[in-house]
């Protein structure tokens, strides 16, 4: 029996992620303040979310509703009774000196999204925002620090996965699915740059094939899935080098700087807080009633994973197209409305939506553009029946996106209809006459020289002619076969 040297071993990363998502409720988690979207600092506050003496929290029912929807989307076991805890620590962004969160009795557990098991889903409140003046950009060593309490008390749902992810790419993909799923439910803006979706990752490595878990480190606050992937790659690389050199992984919390690619320690295990959790005596337990559960269930739309699967299965769309139509659900809705409006070929229509339409509207919701799903369906049908050429159809779509309307009317008013044989005859004659050398070449056997003549016809007709038809007419006239 031989012992494998550390440097010869191959390692497998084990990754779990923890996501905080700001809920899009009307008011904050425990008070009546409206949520803030970039208002002037400290204008969305009240005695409760400022932690004034004597104030008490009251749980936001809509936040519980959204959290139940999330738990159901992941097929979790919803706790018949869950409670809030106080998580105690001092920091200026935490007005009460504790965060109201959930601890050993969370709202939901044991779910699944795709191939990844969800460990738990719980509700809590967001902290306020600190701004530090001075060189360090951190509170220690700052000249002055100011607090904006607008964000303080925003409802958060924390979602923790089991360590089921095996590569940085898998982690990023899972994150995107989770993001699309939450976005589809309309429970959050899920904008990572704005912080309405925040991702932390726990990562450890182990010799490939082993079942035990190694010591993990935590990567905090990645603000895009690309950075999550890169941060994980960097950290896995660091852990592998460390272990191969005979070192030991230390449990710590790390920050990944996407600019430099550097990892820096935020705190080690020794510096870990004792949060002194205890049940929040100011709040009553969350006991979801049958009515609450039914309401949450009824509010759940078809989720991206299910839709992608259905589009692939029922409409035989390619996986990538189906995924795009599911992740950008507004495109998917537009596509399905277009399908419903006519009986066009789903694949062709899907291509038009995901390529041509998407290119023209960018990230906007097609429902906000002027083009109607039925209009796009009719346009695609006209291409199919060759009433309009593909390139002319692109022009028609430009017009539909800009002004709306009916494709046939646009074709008519702009004269974009397919050039018919009688119109083409003269144009083809002229093109042959003007391209004598090409004619010579064709006759000499260089069939591809026909392109120059076809091109001339296309220029003349502004793309309205059918290429095959034109080629046939040219060959006929110059006697080539």
């Amino acid at each position: 029996m031989s012992v494998t040297e550390p440097e010869a071993r191959s390692y497998e990363p084990v990754i779990g992620i923890e996501i905080h998502v700001q809920l899009k409720t009307r008011t904050k988690m425990f008070c009546g303040c409206a949520l803030s979207f970039g208002e002037a600092p400290n204008t969305r506050t009240c005695p409760v979310c400022l932690g004034h003496p004597g104030t008490l929290p009251v749980t936001n029912a809509e936040a519980v509703h959204f959290a139940l929807m999330i738990a159901m989307a992941f097929d979790c076991d919803i706790a018949p009774r869950s409670i809030f805890h106080r998580k105690n620590y001092f920091y200026p962004d935490l007005p009460k000196g504790y965060q109201i969160s959930q601890y050993d009795l969370p709202l939901a557990r044991n779910g699944r999204l795709g191939d990844v098991r969800i460990h738990r889903v719980h509700l809590e409140e967001d902290a306020a925002k600190l701004v530090h003046a001075g060189a360090s950009g951190r509170i220690h060593g700052a000249e002055t620090s100011v607090v904006d309490f607008n964000r303080g008390g925003t409802p958060l749902v924390e979602i923790v996965t089991e360590p089921d992810l095996r590569s940085p790419a898998e982690a990023a993909d899972f994150g995107r699915l989770l993001q699309a799923t939450l976005r589809r439910m309309g429970v959050s803006d899920v904008n990572m740059e704005e912080g309405s979706l925040r991702v932390d990752a726990n990562v450890s490595i182990r010799p490939a094939g082993e079942a035990t878990l190694g010591t993990k480190t935590e990567l905090k606050n990645m603000n895009s899935f690309r950075f999550l992937e890169r941060g994980l790659e960097a950290e896995i690389g660091r852990q592998e080098r460390l272990v191969r050199d005979g070192g030991e992984i230390e449990q710590e919390t790390l920050h990944f700087d996407p600019q430099s690619g550097a990892l820096s320690a935020l705190r080690t295990k020794e510096e870990a807080h004792d949060y002194r959790y205890f049940p929040e005596p100011d709040l009553v337990p969350i006991v979801p009633t049958e009515t609450m559960l039914e309401r949450a269930r009824a509010a759940l739309p078809e989720l991206p994973a299910a839709r992608a699967e259905r589009l692939e299965r029922e409409l035989e769309l390619p996986a990538e197209t189906a995924r795009l139509l599911s992740f950008r659900f507004e495109l998917g809705d537009f596509f399905e409305d277009a399908i419903a409006a006519g009986d066009g070929d789903p694949r062709t229509l899907a291509n038009w939506v995901t390529n041509e339409l998407a290119a023209r509207i960018g990230d906007a919701d097609p429902a906000d553009s002027r083009v109607e799903p039925g209009a796009l369906a009719r346009l695609v049908a006209m291409v199919g029946t060759k009433e309009v050429s593909r390139s002319a159809a692109h022009e028609v779509l430009d017009e539909l996106v800009a002004e709306g309307g009916d494709p046939a009317a646009v074709v008519e008013s702009k004269g974009l209809g397919r050039a018919d044989k009688s119109e083409l005859e003269g144009i083809v004659e002229r093109a042959i006459a003007e391209n004598g050398d090409a004619v010579e070449k064709i006759r000499a056997g260089k069939a591809q020289a026909i392109g120059a003549i076809v091109g001339a016809v296309m220029r003349e007709t502004k793309g309205r002619a059918d290429g095959g038809e034109v080629q046939r007419m040219i060959r006929e006239r110059i006697g080539a076969s």
């Binding site: 004034h52 003496p53 004597g54 749980t59 001092f90 000196g97 504790y98 205890f278």
Partner: protein, 464 residues
């Protein structure tokens, strides 16, 4: 106008309603009385009657109730100068019912204490003997009512903070059922125990004030709808009622206090009531459980006093230094002691042994009361093991001070209501008799207290 001093709040309310007394007259009379207080009972007295003073006499309010624009700081230096931007629901309810705020009364800092000597400002003196304490933590409210510088008052009770000072000052003090009165706007000590209640000259006044305090408040999730309007007490007999006596054999119970309590038990029997001993085996561990749970909750409740948003700020430059200096300067010794006890009790590795065990004791105490109320209508005890003690007598011995709450701590742990009524004198100082009943049974408790009150005929409130 001096005739008002001889009237109970309910009697004054009659005059106000009948138009024989104007709200402004009543307010001015009591304002002048409060201004003349020389017991240290007030931290702030209202300048003038509010425009909307109604048909109830003005009410003295413990400093920890937030009143918009009025200094409200739980008698702590850490809230010196703090004027809340909002008003506590209980105070607002009273104002709407017609009782304006007369003044803010002194108390033990953050309601932590049994003698009022822990006030961040000055101690309160007992009107029966100025060298003695009025009890605490609602000592200012109790002393003001006893001395006739307030017609009635509200306080808060966490482990006895209404009943014990009521007992030591010879007045009536009621701790309602947990959840009966909104806690919104009460500067928190221990959230799962704190409850607002009346301190009054007699039982009828307590019922009248309670009637206007109770009710569910959307701002307090732990508040509950009160099942029915609080009844004005009328009973003069105690026929068919069974009273379970607890704690008469406890060592540390002053013999003079025990005598008054035994005499009161005799009165109960004379009024037709039955008296029997009952067992509450876990109640004797009430103090131990209380001094884990209350400090644990307090350690979190008081974390917000960090100098960042309101109140005085000390320390310079460094964040940690600011936190430490602000809290070092702002909190008194007893508050610091309890924050440390609570922080320790919640620490990882100790939580189960302390907080977990204390919660189990709490549950057991509640169960034992529930079982007791299947046999008896009420549980009766001495309110305080002793009469009012001398200023400074127990300040050096926190444990002796904590024992003041021995008989009053089990009820808030069980969430049930209890009243203390003056039952007689021992060495010329008042002795309180405590009557506890099942949750939301205040009307029946007060009815029984009313019958006893009439029979006892306690006199001699030292109005000056």
């Amino acid at each position: 106008m001096t005739g008002l001093l001889a009237l109970t709040a309910a009697q004054q309310a009659e005059l106000l309603r009948a138009g024989e007394l104007s709200a402004a007259e009543a307010f001015d009379f009591w304002r002048a009385r409060a201004e003349d207080d020389d017991l240290g009972a007030y931290l702030w007295v209202a300048d003038s009657a509010p425009d909307d003073a109604g048909h109830l006499p003005p009410v003295a309010v413990k400093d920890l109730f937030c009143v918009e624009g009025v200094p409200s700081g739980a008698a702590s230096r850490i809230l010196e100068g703090y004027r809340p931007p909002y008003t506590a629901t209980s105070v607002e309810n009273l104002r709407r019912a017609g009782a304006p705020v007369l003044g803010k009364t002194n108390q033990d800092e953050f309601a932590m204490g049994s003698s009022n000597e822990n006030s961040g400002y000055w101690p309160v003196r007992n009107p029966w003997d100025r060298e003695r304490v009025p009890g605490g933590s609602s000592g200012g409210s109790a002393a003001a009512v006893a001395a006739g510088t307030a017609p009635w008052a509200i306080g808060t009770d966490t482990g006895g903070s209404i009943r014990q000072p009521a007992s030591l000052c010879g007045i009536v003090g009621l701790k309602p059922t947990y959840g009966a009165v909104s806690r919104y706007g009460m500067i928190a000590f221990a959230s799962s125990l704190d409850q607002c209640g009346p301190l009054t000259r007699d039982v009828t006044d307590a019922a009248l004030l309670l009637r206007h305090l109770v009710g569910r408040d959307p701002c307090d999730s732990t508040s509950l709808d009160y099942p029915e309007e609080v009844r004005m007490p009328t009973a003069e007999r105690l026929d068919e009622l069974r009273f379970g006596v607890w704690g008469l054999d406890e060592e540390g119970l002053d013999p003079g206090v025990a005598d008054v309590v035994r005499r009161t038990l005799g009165t109960i029997e004379e009024l037709g009531g039955g008296v029997e001993e009952i067992e509450l085996p876990s109640a004797r561990h009430g103090l131990a459980a209380y001094y884990v749970i209350a400090p644990a909750e307090a350690s979190a409740n008081l974390a917000r006093y960090d100098g960042v948003r309101y109140g005085p700020r000390s320390g310079d430059g460094d964040l940690t230094a600011m936190y430490e200096q602000t809290r070092r300067d702002g909190f008194g010794d007893e508050v610091k002691r309890r924050i440390m006890i609570g922080t320790y009790a919640l620490s990882s590795g100790y939580y189960e042994a302390y907080y977990g065990t204390a919660q189990k004791v709490r549950t057991r105490i509640a169960d034992e009361f529930r079982a007791a109320f299947e046999r008896v209508d009420f549980v009766v005890t001495p309110t305080s093991p002793t009469v009012a003690f001398r200023l400074g007598e127990r300040t050096a011995d926190p444990l002796a001070m904590y024992l003041s709450d021995y008989f009053t701590v089990p009820m808030p742990l069980a969430g049930i209501p209890a009243v203390s009524i003056p039952a007689g004198l021992s060495d010329g100082l008042p002795v309180g008799f405590q009557i506890a009943g099942p949750a939301f049974d205040e009307s029946r408790i007060l009815d029984a207290a009313h019958a006893l009150e009439k029979a006892i005929g306690f006199e001699g409130v030292p109005r000056t």
